[in-house]
């Protein structure tokens, strides 16, 4: 039996709780320090902050109405008046990119949120309860993992139809099985650790243990994985948009802008150049932040990279 921390005197419970809080604070400070020391991660965080500002304030800071078209000015190349040029309907590309940020980034955030919440829950349940529940969840996961993520998303969209909600659902569902596998493995690991065995011996309920003991063990890995997935999801969502399987037409989602603009590539490359740069930058930022988080939160991976 692991008897770590048994020699706790009863007099100092308050002290110990204060010490635990202090230790947690110190760990957080250490993680923050490590993250800050990583130049790439800081740069990524800056780009992300910028993109988030665009996503939140989009319509208020866009110089023009992203939907207002003016066919007389269609496909105008970049100029002082419209720095990124105009698209096939004469709409200002800069304004569309600014307003589009909330779609492209919003879809990524929402689908990763959906995938991680459902996936973490099912992974915890599957790993903690084992037996029949586990077998059923794992067989379904096996089947879903047999589809590459993009192809599963495409299949789901093909049935559900296009639109922001369906896009979020399709990508979210496609990422669930990966989270289930990840969290189930970590849960099995945590289950054999002293703190869980002790809690079970004390008669705590399964959900209490999962929430209080296993979830904190699982969370750092899930956060790191999610930041990578955000980068990946931006690419998938815009890819689906590019294929015409994303949002409905006038919506200025970046991938959809690429998809509708690609016919004009030969004579008016500016139509596709700028939305692509924004997709690249956002995905890059998520990956940089992911690297920084991995080093800061996961001591094992950090040691390995030294």
């Amino acid at each position: 039996m692991g008897g770590r921390g048994v020699k706790v005197s009863t007099s100092g419970i308050g002290d110990i709780q204060a010490k635990i809080r202090e230790a947690k604070r110190a760990a957080r400070r250490r993680a923050l320090y490590k993250f800050r020391a990583n130049k790439g991660a800081v740069a990524g965080a800056f780009i992300l902050g910028f993109m988030l500002v665009l996503a939140v304030l989009g319509p208020y800071i866009a110089p023009e109405d992203p939907y207002a078209f003016d066919l007389r000015r269609k496909l105008e190349p970049p100029s002082w008046d419209s720095p990124f040029g105009r698209d096939e309907l004469g709409r200002d590309i800069l304004s569309r990119i600014i307003v589009g940020a909330r779609y492209s980034i919003g879809i990524a955030l929402a689908s990763v949120f959906l995938g991680s919440v459902v996936g973490v829950f099912l992974g915890l349940v599957s790993g903690y309860y084992g037996r029949v529940v586990d077998s059923i969840i794992q067989r379904i996961t096996d089947v879903l993992l047999a589809f590459p993520i993009i192809i599963l998303s495409i299949a789901l969209i093909a049935v559900m139809g296009v639109g922001v909600t369906n896009l979020v659902l399709a990508i979210g569902i496609s990422t669930i099985p990966v989270y289930i596998r990840l969290v189930r493995g970590l849960t099995l690991q945590a289950k054999s650790r002293e703190f869980v065995i002790a809690a079970r011996a004390m008669g705590k309920s399964g959900f209490y243990i999962m929430r209080k003991h296993i979830l904190p063990h699982v969370l750092p890995t899930v956060i790191v994985q999610s930041s990578y997935y955000l980068g990946f999801t931006i690419l998938i969502a815009s890819g689906l948009g590019f294929l015409g399987l994303g949002v409905k037409p006038p919506t200025p989602e970046w991938g959809a802008m690429l998809g509708s603009g690609r016919t004009y590539l030969f004579s008016y490359p500016h139509v596709v150049t700028f939305p692509g740069i924004f997709i690249l930058l956002t995905a890059l930022a998520f990956n940089l932040v992911g690297d920084g988080l991995r080093d800061a939160l996961d001591p094992r991976a950090g040691a390995y990279r030294r």
Binding site: A158, V159, G276
Partner: protein, 314 residues
Amino acid sequence: MTLAKYVAKRLLQAIPTLIGVVLFMFILIRMLPGDPARLIAGIEATEEDVERIREILGLNRPLYVQFIDYMKDVFTGDLGTSIRFGTPVIGEIMERLPYTIQLALVSEFLAVILGVPLGIMAALRPYSARGYLATVFALIGSSMPIYWMGLMFIYLFSVRLKWLPSSGADSPSSIILPALTLSLLLMGNLMRITKASFQEVLGENYITTVRAKGLSERIVIYRHALKNASVPIITIMGIQLGTLLGGAILTETVFAWPGLGTLLIDAISYRDYPLIQGIVIVFATMFVLINLIVDVIYAIIDPRVREQLWAAEE
């Protein structure tokens, strides 16, 4: 236990997953709201058309009978009839499949012959500009929207320089741009992993033994280090297969490459559900099979894995 037996066993194990895949697609298509036959036929279709579709899909029978029949059909190679073309789905797929396989293989090949040596170079000189380049390249590679990069390639190499065709598969040089685009998606990660695993392996004691025997650096690197480092490299290639197949759909669309990906996108715009179902099943089957091949390659490379696997299978 021999290798052949192991492969046979793994194939048998893949069957339940594949049945699950077919079941999943079957349910998914049945989840279309409203009368599937009417939906598939379109609003302008006559009542006879709808009836014909109902007949084709066997929608007038109980659900489980429909599924068992469909299952039987799938395992005998009959994936149904395309609504748009009126021809067997399997025929349409077989016509396009070679193009997708060709694109995937050439891209993987390009990624390996460029990514692995670059990764090795970076590992041998970790503090040089090259070592740094590998890290940056890997990062950008995994953040790049390849469909956009494909468009940029077309603009540069087809529109501006007029070196290469921008679309289709009419001349042998047609494959260069799509394959290059798709390979760059894989190359970054491949480089990063090659660099990391080489650095780790070159620090191992058995490498010192090889040097101490008086073997040349060429043999140290290309025989011992490469074989040992190839295990994590192959793992990454396995993990990337999903990316490869998904990326193939996007790349094919950008370059109008006549593979399964463009067929799938067309099928979706024509609501050709039997065809969609068939293509997705074929993609999933390919994914499962290639993963299986990766496992077999492990067993061939590493005697320890081989023994473990075979012991577990006994």
